[in-house]
């Protein structure tokens, strides 16, 4: 999420030369700690803040935490068009990518070995998938990391037994399967609407947090980020804007 913060800062500062925004990375935990300590005015987080964290902000800063969803992040799981499978549970996807399931017949497909593709460990998509699907476990040894979503798609298109993951909007010559949160709930198709309504399990909001309602320059920045210009940056970086309206601009 650091990327998107940096891009917002760059674009905003170009239009507002009087404002200086300093963006620091380190992960959501680092940002939340900085908000608690008062060393930052805005903290970005790719997960919702926990209640204890909100409580400690209130205690330290004497202000309510304001939660502002700024973008949507969602992943699709891709299969080759020839694969007969069209939905899986989160648990099945996890076991496949961790190497516990190695044959398609174990998830209802043909008797063939599964070939794993995905992103390199320098990508936010990789981190999201690892945290969200693998619960921070390791990928299987034979997981093949590739340089970009286009490369993942190319690999799965060429490989009948391949499986990969990437952004929702990219899937054209392959199949983006429906994903069920668990065995009890029904599979949900990977569409923008399902991602925005949070029914699709491989989606999440990206948040900004402030201690107390934003005022002055901070408020201008927040409004700008939620406006068409800020939401266009969201698209450029590869996340999803909050409203469909921002997409067409």
């Amino acid at each position: 999420m650091l990327q998107i913060g940096q891009r917002w800062a760059e674009v905003y500062m170009k239009d507002h030369p009087a404002v200086t925004i300093q963006v620091t990375g380190g992960g959501s935990g680092t940002g939340i700690a900085a908000l608690v300590n008062g060393t930052t005015q805005i903290c970005q987080s790719s997960r919702p803040m926990k209640d204890e964290e909100k409580a400690s902000v209130k205690q330290q800063r004497n202000a309510e935490v304001i939660e502002i969803p700024v973008a949507v992040d969602a992943l699709a799981v891709y299969l080759n068009k020839q694969n007969s499978i069209d939905h899986m549970t989160m648990e099945q996807i996890r076991r496949i990518f961790q190497g516990e399931i190695t044959n398609w017949k174990d998830v209802g497909g043909a008797n063939a070995n599964i070939v794993l593709y995905g992103r390199e460990n320098n990508s936010g998509t990789y981190v999201f998938f690892k945290e969200h699907v693998l619960a921070n476990g390791d990928f299987a040894e034979r997981y093949q990391p590739l340089g970009g979503t286009a490369a993942v798609i190319n690999a799965v298109v060429k490989d009948v037994n391949g499986i990969g993951y990437g952004g929702i909007g990219y899937a054209t010559d392959l199949k983006a399967i429906s994903v069920a949160k668990d065995a009890a709930s029904g599979p949900v198709a990977p569409t923008m609407e399902n991602a925005l309504s949070k029914r699709y399990p491989l989606s999440r909001f990206l948040y900004w947090y402030t201690a107390g309602p934003p005022v002055g320059t901070i408020k201008d920045l927040v409004d700008w980020v939620l406006g068409p210009q800020g939401q266009n940056v969201v698209k450029d970086v590869g996340f999803y804007p909050l409203k469909d309206g921002a997409q067409s601009q």
Partner: protein, 331 residues
């Protein structure tokens, strides 16, 4: 290396040229100026040579300096020993990052060996053919053609393997993995063949004509002469060619990055994907936290790569000297 062969091709040695330059000259003011210009030129050339060495040295210092803090403190829970400790997993990003580089080293050597297995026979056979058998008109064509091959950017070779060759290999051997050590190794061979070819062809042509004539006069056939006389006489040069090729293959990045599948596996099979040291640096350095543990480990990998190539080159030149001594009695 190249200079030595050129000199022996023209039939005189460095010591001969030294004698020539020592021929007494008629003293006049013009020659005084000439001497001074000579001296200046010499100084300039040695300064340039020194700069080249200094640059290499400074690059090594820079790489080592970026890795060095690991030696005296733990950064983000990583010490200098972490890359060598179990578990044997390379997953540097995540909840519990794992930094073992054994699979990367194994992958690097696996791909390099496969590349050498493909490149060596092809390049040597081609060199022997052009040096000993090809008619001069054909030779005029083959040499530039191989030099053009050397000029192909490695990213183009990698892309070709990624899109075309990998599919052929998968269909031909019905492989589970489209991208694997074999596809990367063959791609790498394309990059190494011109180098081995050029250097060993030069070594073969620099074998004195006398050897061939003596062999033929004794009744040996052309093929016997080429294989039993010319090839062994050129062996120090050919060996140098192989060492250079090995060094080039081990550090080559773009081809393996595109064609190897990049999975950090520990396996002896040539048909599974591999991740190499160079490809790891290339794909991960762009997004790591500057100065963090992962960043330092990537520079440590750079140091290791540097050491591996230096040791191979050093051992190569040592063995080469010994070989020359045994064959010709000179170093």
């Amino acid at each position: 290396m190249r200079r030595k062969f050129r000199i022996s091709k023209f039939g005189f040695r460095i010591s001969d040229t030294a004698l020539l330059s020592g021929v007494p000259q008629i003293r006049n003011p013009k020659s005084e100026i000439r001497n001074r210009i000579d001296w200046l030129g010499e100084f300039f050339i040695s300064a340039v040579a020194f700069v080249a060495i200094a640059i290499i040295f400074l690059i090594f210092i820079y790489v080592a300096r970026e890795a060095a803090p690991l030696a005296w403190r733990t950064i983000d829970g990583i010490s200098i020993w972490s890359p060598f400790q179990p578990p044997y997993v390379w997953q540097p990003v995540g909840g519990v990052p794992k930094f073992n580089i054994l699979s990367l080293i194994a992958g690097t050597f696996k791909v390099t060996l496969i590349a050498m297995l493909f490149a060596t026979p092809l390049a040597l056979a081609a060199a022997l053919y052009t040096a000993e058998f090809a008619p001069p008109s054909l030779r005029e064509w083959i040499k530039p053609a191989v030099e053009v091959l050397a000029g192909i950017p490695s990213v183009v070779v990698g892309f070709f393997v990624l899109i075309v060759l990998a599919s052929w290999l998968q269909d031909a051997f019905s492989l589970q993995f489209r991208l694997n050590a074999l596809s990367a190794g063959i791609g790498l061979a394309f990059a190494v063949i011109p180098l081995i070819y050029t250097v060993s062809e030069e070594a073969l042509t620099s074998v004195p004509k006398l050897y061939r004539e003596a062999s033929l006069a004794l009744g040996a056939s052309k093929a016997q002469t080429a294989i039993r006389v010319v090839l062994p006489s050129a062996s120090p040069g050919i060996f140098a060619a192989l060492v250079l090729g090995f060094g080039r293959a081990i550090g080559e990045t773009m081809i393996v990055l595109l064609a190897s599948g990049n999975a950090a596996t520990l396996s002896l099979s040539p048909f599974v994907p591999v991740r190499t040291l160079s490809a790891t640096i290339a794909s991960e350095l762009g997004e790591v936290v500057f100065g963090g543990g992962h960043y330092r480990v990537l520079f440590l990998i750079g140091v290791i790569l540097f050491i591996i190539t230096s040791v191979i080159n050093w051992m190569g030149s040592r063995y080469n000297r010994r070989l020359r001594q045994r064959l010709f009695g000179t170093a």
